[in-house]
């Protein structure tokens, strides 16, 4: 046990050196590391949001909204299909609760044809986990003699949900990036959630507004025949129209034609700018080819009439078309501040979210609280470490010193591994390191107690040390494995700070098996060979 083969020696020395080397950058302020060549260790531990400040926002995709939007599309498709097939229909309706669209066919003779045509709307969705065919996204079925019902299937919804979440992540990323924050993390959580973590953000309300806005832009005509104020009062909206309010304070009512002339999907670009004449902040936009063509046609046909620019069902502005807009570019002015114009252009550029997202969990820490937490965490950790070091020396003398050196190496290895893995250090994580300090020396307590017992049985120093390490080992492994069970469960269920605690504890316990057993044994072995003591000072 006390004789080390050369290769083992080299291995231990290498691990310890690398541990110290990779932990080293954490002792310097990050500014001092700018000049360090990249082949040298230069990575530092990532600080959790609780230590550096930032926002943790968990969004949930509104399934109902997604279904509603999809049913709207299906209804449009049904209308289009039947019209193209010259099939008469009535009672085209959608029902969110049953996730279905139903339609009545006028002529019984058209039923078969209608059914065949509508069946083409169903699209097979990706393979299931077993590689088999999962089914169609919508199920088309006959209802009685004259009705057809199209229902969204479970695999269809799951598929749509997955792609909606992916699209949301892309959109959110574009929006958050536009805020110029560093290293935001945007990831999917579970079936219908997106977790957004933005370190160091100060204006959380603005961030939330930017992310949470659906960003659905529509151009619609104002119905010139309707009296908006009267409609708002009586709530009697003319058929084919809708009542929409403006973003003004107080909101003004507008009666718009139901049909969307051009939508945000046709936007190519949007930029904040200033109006050439009034100098007020505006957003200039450019349509793609299809959008430009359609916009030109609409503006040609409606010169002199007002149209509305609608964002998320709110009218931003409703200018009158003075002349046909043929170039496919335009500007939106709506009494914006510079920042509002900027944010709106970001929103338009990033595209709309596929469905509404709502915040279901928010945890924001200000930078000053984070800095305070680092200070208090450091203070507590230094004190904890100092007390353990003193106590171990008082309890075991020289052997306590060995244990202390091993413990410090252990702490260095924790920092090295955290830095290399890109893991996150949180305030509970610091407490975890300190707990590991207590538990790492525990292995040495076990060993040293064993050595004491072996000495009492009259063994020689060499034999006592050897037996002490050997006997203590199974106990050390058993006790550490049981601790790890608890900690791994913690890692699995926890998030954020709690997970940071589990991470440092896991790394620390594993590293302690190496430092407390192997490293101290090496030190003790060399000391024994060097001093050849008659008795062990323990």
């Amino acid at each position: 046990m006390l004789h080390f083969q050369r290769w083992k020696l080299i291995l231990v020395a290498t691990v310890v050196t690398l541990g110290l080397l990779y932990a080293l950058p954490n002792l310097f302020p990050s500014s001092a590391l700018q000049g360090v060549p990249t082949w040298l260790p230069h990575k530092q531990v990532n600080l959790g949001l609780d230590l550096q400040g930032g926002a943790h926002l968990l969004y949930q995709l509104d399934e109902k909204d997604l279904v509603e939007g999809w049913l709207n599309t299906i209804r449009g498709d049904v209308r289009e299909t039947l019209r193209r097939g010259r099939i008469g229909y009535t009672d085209l309706a959608q029902n969110t609760a049953t996730r279905s669209v139903s339609v009545k066919i006028r002529e019984p003779g058209d039923m078969d044809k209608a059914f065949e045509e509508l069946k083409k709307l169903a699209v097979p969705v990706g393979a299931d986990v077993f590689g088999g065919f999962a089914g169609n996204d919508i199920e088309v079925e006959r209802q009685g003699a004259d009705s057809i019902r199209l229902t969204i299937t479970d695999p269809g919804l799951t598929h749509r949900m997955t792609s909606a979440i992916q699209a949301s992540i892309e959109t959110i990323r574009r929006r958050v990036d536009a805020m110029g924050t560093t290293e935001p993390s945007i990831q999917r959580e579970g079936r219908d959630r997106v977790l957004v973590q933005v370190p160091g953000v100060s204006d959380v309300e603005r961030l939330k507004n930017l992310i949470g806005e659906t960003g659905k832009l529509e151009f619609k005509l104002v119905d010139p025949a309707a009296d908006a104020l009267q409609v708002a009062e009586t709530k009697q909206v003319p058929p084919g129209d809708e009542l929409v309010y403006s973003t003004d304070d107080p909101p003004l009512p507008y009666v718009l034609k139901d049909q969307v002339l051009v939508s945000g999907q046709n936007l190519d670009d949007a930029q904040p700018g200033f109006d050439g004449q009034t100098g007020e902040p505006v957003v200039t936009f450019r349509f793609d080819a299809a959008g430009a063509k359609r916009f030109a046609k609409v503006t040609q046909e409606n010169v002199g009439l007002p149209f509305a620019i609608v964002l998320d069902n709110k009218v931003i502005s409703a200018p009158v078309i003075r002349e046909p807009i043929l170039g496919g570019t335009g500007q939106i002015s709506g009494k914006f501040s510079v920042q509002e114009a900027n944010d709106l252009s970001v929103l338009l550029r990033s595209g709309a979210l596929p469905a509404k997202l709502s915040v279901i969990e928010e945890r924001t820490v200000g930078a000053s609280l984070g800095a305070d937490s680092i200070e208090s965490g450091k203070m507590a950790a230094y004190w904890g470490m100092a007390l353990v070091v003193i106590f171990m020396f008082v309890a075991y003398g020289l052997f306590g010193l060995f244990a202390n050196i091993a413990m410090l190496i252990n702490v260095a290895i924790i920092f090295a591994v955290l830095s290399l893995m890109g893991a996150t250090l949180t305030l509970p994580g610091i407490a975890g390191i300190v707990l590991v300090i207590g538990m790492a020396v525990d292995a040495n307590v076990l060993i040293n107690e064993r050595i004491r017992e072996e000495i009492r049985t009259g063994k020689s120093p060499f034999a006592a040390v050897e037996a002490g390490y050997k006997r203590a080992l199974t106990t050390i492994i058993d006790s550490n494995v049981t601790t790890l069970i608890g900690v791994l469960v913690l890692f699995w269920m926890g998030s954020g700070p709690v997970r940071g605690f589990a991470t440092t504890l896991t790394i620390g316990i594993l590293a302690s098996l190496f430092t407390a057993v192997t490293v101290t044994r090496l030190m003790v072995a060399y000391w024994l060979r060097w001093k050849r003591p008659q008795e062990i000072p323990i």
């Binding site: 949930q60 200000g366 407490a431 900690v487």
Partner: protein, 317 residues
């Protein structure tokens, strides 16, 4: 050369198991008492498990005008509002009850910011919606149960079923007593409390395994020793280690109570309490439990020990 101080003399012989009538009562009280506490005065559930909004602010003036803040926030019609000083005279913690929907939850924070104006710094904002709080309760409970089962299986596998049951029973004791601490001090019970409980479970077991290990060793070594004596011997032999380990972890974590800041105070307090508690339960709960569970020594002589272990046992015998 300095040899270190032997805090526990090597020939210590305390009749721990002999106290068992007294310690059974104490342990039973520590296990059942907290349940009564939770039933009567309840737990101070944090927003993690209840949903709601938590805002930590720092005011420019010190001390903060708690009354003014209270009246401003209470008038917003957000339901139950709690205002308290938090660590420093100008630091204030505002807790707002859960709102019926996620949207209203979001609006509540905007309303508070509007009411308090620009003069305060928002150090921390936490909003937990009703969806998440339900999930956190479920996953927290599940985590504790899964950890217990995992430990039971491991100890059963490595030792005997009696050890496994004794370990889990004493862990239940540790968990309920810790929950009792949260209840009696009305410390906020939240996700980090679950973390504290899971860590105490892991830590406590670490300790019990060391004693079990010694009991197993002594069962092989002293084939005719009565069980009470054997348990006492095992506890006494490992006593020095038990005491030293608890002292080191205790010393390591103690500074967090004083310097760690408000954010981690509850967690640190539970951990420090857990360390002391674990020391008690290792000596007075887990080991004597084996008497009741009828630990049989023939389980070991008959058990197919690994060749390595058999070698050790033979060498010691």
């Amino acid at each position: 050369m300095f040899r270190g101080i032997q805090f526990v003399p090597p020939d210590t012989k305390i009749d721990f198991v002999g106290f068992r009538t007294i310690t059974w009562i104490v342990s039973a009280l520590l296990t059942v008492g907290p349940l009564l506490l939770v039933w009567t005065i309840g737990l101070n559930m944090g927003i993690d498990f209840q949903g709601g909004t938590l805002i930590e602010i720092q005011t420019k003036q010190s001390p903060a005008d708690l009354g003014g803040i209270r009246s401003k926030v209470s008038n917003l019609g957000l339901g139950e509002v709690q205002i308290q000083e938090f660590g420093a005279p100008n630091a204030v913690l505002i807790r707002i009850a859960s709102q019926p929907t996620e949207q209203e939850q979001q609006q509540s924070i905007a309303k508070v910011k509007e009411a308090l104006g620009e003069d305060v710094e928002y150090r921390r904002v936490e909003i937990v919606g009703p969806t998440i709080s339900g999930e956190l309760i479920a996953s927290g409970t599940l985590a504790v149960v899964v950890a217990m089962i995992g430990i039971l299986i491991y100890v059963w596998f490595r030792f005997e079923w009696q050890f496994g049951v004794a370990a889990v029973a004493s862990l239940v004791h540790d968990v309920t007593a810790t929950i009792g601490l949260y209840s009696i001090l009305q410390l906020e019970f939240n996700v980090s409390s679950i973390a504290a409980i899971l860590t105490i479970i892991g830590y406590s077991l670490n300790d019990k395994v060391v004693i079990f290990d010694r009991v197993r060793e002594n069962l092989r070594k002293y084939k005719r020793m009565p069980m009470v004596e054997l348990l006492d011997l095992s506890i006494n032999e490992t006593l020095s280690r038990t005491v030293l380990t608890h002292v080191t972890t205790f010393l390591a974590l103690l500074p967090f109570l004083f310097f760690g800041g408000e954010a981690i105070y509850g967690f640190a307090l539970a951990m420090v309490f857990g360390i002391v508690l674990t020391c008690y339960s290792s000596i007075f709960v887990a080991s004597p439990l084996q008497l009741i569970l009828g630990m049989r020594r023939d389980a070991f002589s008959a058990a197919p020990a690994s060749s390595k272990e058999r070698g050790t046992a033979a060498a010691r015998a």
